[in-house]
């Protein structure tokens, strides 16, 4: 995995060491290790129930680890409560103080810190400008839209000048368009304030938009982590490939191993794939993945039979029109369905269902997964 931490002379903002968290019999986190550099926009991505919230809340001090440590800026803080940590948090919803105005909400932390009222309110008002809330100071939370409420939460957290901001599904309660807009705003806000953001989401598009680095969390395990682009382009784990992007997943058996690549038998076709440092043995069952937009479709005829190691034959199923793109579904001889995605209307001579077709790709587009 191409693992590059942003070079700083400071200690990492967050180090999670061998962290486990159990709720009774439920093992929500299992031996998680993770390092997040200061100033990063880090995303925890994964299916719901995977343990993302638990990990985030353990970093924030809302849960005590069952095992393991949480270090913030190099100091072990595993047993400190949230108010003694250099973190602050934005919740999915319902977290605004309903009996206080927006201004009182935003300046609450400053009031707790003992800063005098006038100064606190000035600072709060300035932060409200930053997040686009000027003019709403005297509103009560229930008089705001969902997006505005999340802005209040952001302002309330950022005004404290803590250096780690935790966000648990901050956009999940918003409608699709607003979520997209606010994603970008979050990204820009983080670049502006320069502190570490740790953002939990189950939405891969949201993750790709905001993240410098992404960690995939599923089933209590930290599956894989790396730069957002690498996670998308070159996932190492099978789970990552199936969760991020629209990938075709194929399973087969290794039929030949040589140097940097190996040959995998998938439904009778011999596919050549780079090993990328993974150990494989002859006969071993492995998985392959390839992004649907990198798979090209052409009609099969006698002259272009598969056999080059970078193509496979199947029968055309149907086309699914998705607006910008169209997905062409092709059934392989073993019954597995593969998708080739093209810009809509790029192919004008569509095969009819049942026609034999050939799917092919650039040699480096397909990836091997041994786990």
């Amino acid at each position: 995995m191409s693992e590059t931490t942003i070079a700083t002379d400071k200690a990492p903002a967050v180090e999670v060491k061998n962290l486990s968290k159990h709720y009774g019999p439920v093992k929500a986190l299992r031996n998680v290790d993770l390092t997040i550099a200061a100033g990063e926009y880090f995303v925890l991505l994964g299916p719901s129930g995977g343990g993302k919230t638990t990990l985030l809340r353990t970093i924030g001090g809302f849960h005590k680890p069952t095992e393991g440590q949480v270090l913030l800026h190099g100091r072990d803080m595993s047993h400190l409560p949230p108010d003694k940590r250099p973190t602050t948090m934005v919740f999915q919803a319902y977290a605004l103080f309903p009996h206080m105005t927006v201004l009182q909400n935003v300046s609450y932390g400053l009031k707790v810190a003992g800063i005098d009222r006038k100064q606190a309110e000035e600072k709060a008002a300035a932060m409200m400008d930053v997040v686009g809330l000027s003019g709403f100071a005297e509103r009560k939370p229930h008089e705001l839209s969902g997006g505005q409420q999340q802005r209040v939460q952001l302002a309330r957290a950022l005004v404290l000048d803590r250096d780690i901001l935790l966000l648990d599904e901050p956009l999940a309660a918003l409608d699709a368009q607003l979520r997209k807009d606010m994603c970008l705003e979050l990204k820009h806000l983080q670049e502006k304030v320069g502190i570490t953001f740790i953002h939990v989401t189950h939405n891969q598009e949201e993750a790709m938009t905001v993240a410098d680095r992404i960690a995939l969390v599923a089933d209590g395990n930290l599956v894989e982590h790396g730069k957002a682009r690498d996670i998308y382009r070159a996932p190492v784990k099978k789970f990552t490939a199936s969760f991020v992007g629209e990938n075709n997943m194929l399973s087969g058996r290794v039929s030949d191993v040589n140097g940097v690549s190996c040959t995998v038998d998938v439904a009778g076709s011999q596919l050549v794939v780079q090993k990328r440092g993974q150990q494989v043995a002859h006969g071993q069952p492995v998985d392959l993945s390839i992004r649907s937009e990198l798979v090209q479709l052409s009609r099969a005829n006698g002259s272009n039979n598969a056999g080059d190691g970078h193509s496979i034959l199947g029968s055309y199923d149907e086309a699914v029109y998705l607006g910008l793109t169209t997905s062409h579904l092709v059934r392989l001889p073993n019954g597995v369905e593969m998708t080739s995605r093209t810009i809509s209307d790029a192919v004008d001579d569509l095969p009819t269902p049942g026609d034999p077709v050939r799917l092919h790709w650039q040699p480096e587009a397909i990836r091997l997964h041994t786990s």
Binding site: G60, G61, F62, P81, P82, D83, T87, T88, M89, F91, A93, Y94, A95, L96, F97, P98, H99, Y108, G109, V112, A113, E138, R139, H142, E143, L144, S145, G147, Q148, Q153, R156, A157, L160, L166, L178, D181
Partner: protein, 296 residues
Amino acid sequence: MTDEYANPWLYRLKWLYMLLLVVTLMSPVLYVMYISFNANGFGARAYDFTFEWYRLVFSDTLLLNALRWTLTLAVVVTCITVPFAVLAAKYYKTAQNKLPIVFLLLAPLFVPPDILGSALLVYFKSLNASFIWLGDQLGTSMFDGWFRLSFFTAVIGLIIYTIPYAFIVVLITMGRYRTEQTEAARACGADGWRAFWDIEFPQIRAGVFSACSFCVILVFNEYTRTSLLKGGFDTFTTVLISQMLNTGMSPQSYAMSSMVAFTAIAIIGSIIIFTLIRTESLSRLARAKAEPVMSS
């Protein structure tokens, strides 16, 4: 408030109905109050206004003692019940499975007072006997008085009685409270207490005060459980009822009844008026600020 197209007579009829209902319900109480100011007592044809009966109540040491015990009981029960109710409501808010909690907390409402009272009585008696036996075995008289009928046993009985009411009243005012709010306060640097006082308490304040008033009224009015479980003291209602049973209603009894009723009405009335004023001022505030809300 009302549908503008509704028949105005229907509206008036509704008010008339409510008025009639209240008068029917309250007229015996009002009549008792009326009698309590008559120098000639109950049944007399002549009506001469007087405070004499009230003066007599307040010069009777038996009654004054009873009043003192009642107040002490009310204060102690309230001080224990209300914090418990707040804790229960807090717990209810975070609990995954809410049904058992509701059932446990509301169960005392469905047990008739005499059954609950006598059950506790039997329970305390056996407990007392067991503790005395335990003391004898250990050669100490330390445990002897623990569960003898006393102020303590009466307090327990009344806490069981008042908890469901206090719990419900507090829970109602927790409508907009979510645990995330407390967590957000913690994330803003507040410790547990600070978060409670700044975030939770202001939201449930009305509920806590109402629960306190309820407890005081319930303890003041309660006869069955108190009379079964009390030790060597009397409360206002136990004195009143034993007097009525032994010697019939005296003009003094009317004065006492009126006082109990009046206390309850005064407390409830002030809560209602306070709430009405507050709602009105809040809605005025809301109307004043009702500019259109822009999206996003």
